[in-house]
Amino acid sequence: MISRPLLSTAFRQAARPAPTFAPRFLSPRYSPIPARFLSTETKAAIDKAVGSAPVVLFMKGTPETPQCGFSRASIQILGLQGVDPKKFAAFNVLEDEALRQGIKEYSEWPTIPQLYVDKEFVGGCDILVAMHQNGELAKMFEEKKVLVPADGEGSK
């Protein structure tokens, strides 16, 4: 299971993004033409977020209190799979409008949540659910060694 304190730490990190998420780039949601431009600063900040842990989820809300059913389902799946909290980070896009818009462009994916494993985009909620059901997710997590070590295995 995903442990609370570790996730909170990961999240606090997320909740304080680099100051380069400048508010002057904001409000694409309210403009008729959404901003189709990812600033170098935003891209760098997202690069850093994507690389902050082997498993990274961009979601609405926090793992403890997801603000959207699809984000909730994704967190539940990661918990069921036994992803090691030490190898996981969650970023709340609702905390930052620049991240919310930026990640969509960065991933070329228009919806949240989004899962990255080893900096590679895996998919959104529907893909996670499908991969959870058909066993692909377990296989991938195993291969990437991001699961909580099984009992009896020595730790180094």
Partner: protein, 135 residues
Amino acid sequence: MLRRSVLSFTRRPLSTMASQTPMEDTMRTKITEALRPSTLEIHNDSHLHSHHKAMAGSTSQETHFRVVITSEAFKSKMQPARHRMVYALLKEEMAREGGIHALQLRTRTLDEETKQAEREAAEKGESIDAKVDTA
């Protein structure tokens, strides 16, 4: 389905009537033209989400969709690539304020659909058996 039959009683050409589901119509047209799907189901789940905080102030009845597409255009493409094909088609509708807020996708080829249906049928059979056992 029901809507269609109701409309047919009005004795007015469809083209002169304002659609009650403009978004769904657009989605159907775009997906049909681009992907030539053998199966296309568009479910409007918006009513399940109308109380969401994100939907406050939205008057649209067409914000949350669940779409099942079976198309040979998905052949030899990974799931993210398939979803991106659909997102690209509906880019404007998803970006627009008051447009599509959530889009659940099931993107399969005919072969995958058939195999999955067989598997589900087999599982269903099992669960029915289990129910009988416990009854």
